[in-house]
Each structure stands twice: as C-alpha cells, then as structure tokens.
C-alpha cells in the first residue's frame, strides 16, 4: 500500500520524502481537527456528571 503510493509520487527521492511528510501532516491535521472531535463523544471516556440516565429514574 505505502509502497504503491511511494512509487506513484512524482520526483526524486527527496521530493517524494517531502511530499510524504506533507501528506502525513495533512492526515494528522484532519484527524485532530475533524475525526477525533467527532469520535470522542461516542466513546465512554469523558462523562463526568451524575445524571438520571435520560429520565429513567
């Protein structure tokens, strides 16, 4: 997979390395900015309040 991407990047080794770095950073940015904030409330790690569970009490 990564080999395939590497072979399809343009330029010599240095250009490819640079493009790879930029691509990785872009992916990390998308994860931190959009994907993780979306996923976090779906995971049970950050609930700190006591409540009556949506009125079941």
């Amino acid at each position: 997979m990564y080999g395939w991407i590497w072979r399809h990047l343009p330029g010599n080794t240095w250009v490819r390395a640079l493009v790879s770095l930029v691509l990785s950073l872009a992916i990390v940015f998308v994860l931190f900015q959009y994907v993780f904030p979306w996923a976090e409330p779906l995971l049970p790690f950050g609930d700190v309040t006591v409540d009556n569970g949506g009125g079941s009490r």
Binding site: M1, F32, D47, V48
Partner: protein, 244 residues
C-alpha cells in the same frame, strides 16, 4: 508443495523456473503486506487518538479557560456589565489538587466542560449558589483531557480547604466526606442535603463530581465540603490563609 510440483510438471516449461509459484506467493505476500500496513496504520491512529485525548484537548482547553478567566478578572477589575454566568461566576481553588485556579461556569454539558472549566449543575439537580442561605453548590469537571481540572481529586482529604472566589467574597469550605466510587445515576449526591455524605441538616455545602477510575467513566468520584466562613475581598485581593 506436492500439488505445485505436479502442476509444474504438467505445465512443462523447463526454461522458466517454477512459473506458477512465485506469482501466487507474490499475491499472498502482497495481501499480507497490505493487511500488515493497515494494522500498523490502525495502531498509529489509535496512538494519535491517545495523544489527542490526553494532551491536545488539554492544550486547547487550558488556552480557552485562560482566555475566559482573564476576561472575568478584567471585568472584576472595574469593567462594567452584568454578571455573565456563561463566561464564569468565579474561581475554585483546591490546594490539594495541585491545580491552579479553576474557572467556574454555568452548566455541565460536554460542550461547557470541554472549555477547561468546572461547571455548576443546572440539571438534574440545580446547584445552589454559594451566596445562598442554604443549599448545595455542585460542580463537575473533567478528570482527564479537556483541561483535566479535577484530575487529582483523589488527593483531596477530609479537612482540606476548598476556596471559591467571587468578585467580592472568598468562600472557604472544608472537605468533610468523599465517595471514591458511585454509580453515574446517583443523583442524590447533588441533593441540598447530599445523600451519602453523612449530613442530615440543611447547610451550605459544596459537591465536586468527576469520573473514576482515571482514564475511564465507569463510576463517579464525589467530594463534599461545607462552608466554614466567608471573607471579604480586599483591595489587593489578598487570598485567605488557606491559599497562602
């Protein structure tokens, strides 16, 4: 192995050494390689998520809380305008938690608490403000991530001071009970006379709630304190003896 050898014999290309096998093996190797790379990618993404949860959300929340706290202090310093509970009603100081001042704002929704603040309850039990004659001033904040303001709640012992600072008053509370583990549905801990704290008479109480164990939300950790005295804020905002 045996089948392959037979196929080679049947194919009968003596010039090409083993034509079938390398290609088939190559396909399997490629597939295994892709699966392996996907697994490595998944591992890296999960590691990034941990970094996001435990580090990056703290960076964002502390920045936001610092900005809002400065706004509140600015307004106290002479800025006019009514009390905006959304922006903050005061600061909580808990020396035992080794955390600097914690801004207190209205509400305990995820959105409110993610700003790196402690929120006072509006639901399911409405918190009584500290300046009220009787009642329970109940607060919630994150244990991990998003500022992690109550991270060290387990270091709070009975007798430790908890100080709430408003524009003109220091409210000095003393911790008298805690509940290291309770159900997340136990809303009685927020009652005016909190159930489980050992108190029977109405008084001026303060309740801190957060999640436990650390890094999860299976249970809730509760700390109760009772108002000991109040002090007027002087011109220099000299903190009460407990914070010095």
């Amino acid at each position: 192995m045996a089948a392959t050898t037979e196929q080679q014999k049947q194919a009968g290309h003596p010039g090409e050494p083993r034509p079938g096998r390398p290609r088939r093996r190559g396909r399997i190797a490629t597939a295994a390689g892709v699966v392996g790379e996907l697994l490595i990618t998944a591992g890296v993404v999960l590691a990034l998520f941990v970094a996001y949860s435990l580090w990056w959300t703290n960076v964002l929340a502390d920045r936001e809380a610092g900005r809002r706290g400065a706004e509140v202090r600015d307004r106290w310093a002479g800025g006019p305008g009514p009390l905006d509970t959304g922006k903050g009603i005061g600061f909580l100081h808990v020396p035992a938690m080794e955390e600097s001042e914690i801004l207190v704002t209205k509400g305990t929704s995820a959105k409110a608490l993610n700003a790196g603040v402690a929120g006072y309850y509006t639901d399911p039990v409405k918190a009584a403000m500290p300046w009220k004659e009787k009642g329970n001033f109940s607060l919630a904040a994150h244990r991990d991530g998003h500022g992690a303001k109550f991270h060290n709640i387990h270091k709070v012992r009975n007798g430790d001071p908890v100080v709430f600072e408003t524009r003109d008053t220091w409210y000095v509370y003393k911790v008298f009970a805690s509940l290291p583990e309770t159900s997340k549905y136990n809303v009685e801990v927020l009652a005016d006379v909190p159930k489980g704290s050992g108190k029977k008479e109405p008084g001026r109480y303060l309740t801190l709630t957060t999640c436990t164990p650390i890094f999860t939300s299976d249970y809730r950790y509760i700390v109760w304190a009772e108002l000991e005295r109040t002090e007027k804020v002087d011109a220099e905002r000299t903190p009460p003896a407990e914070l010095r």
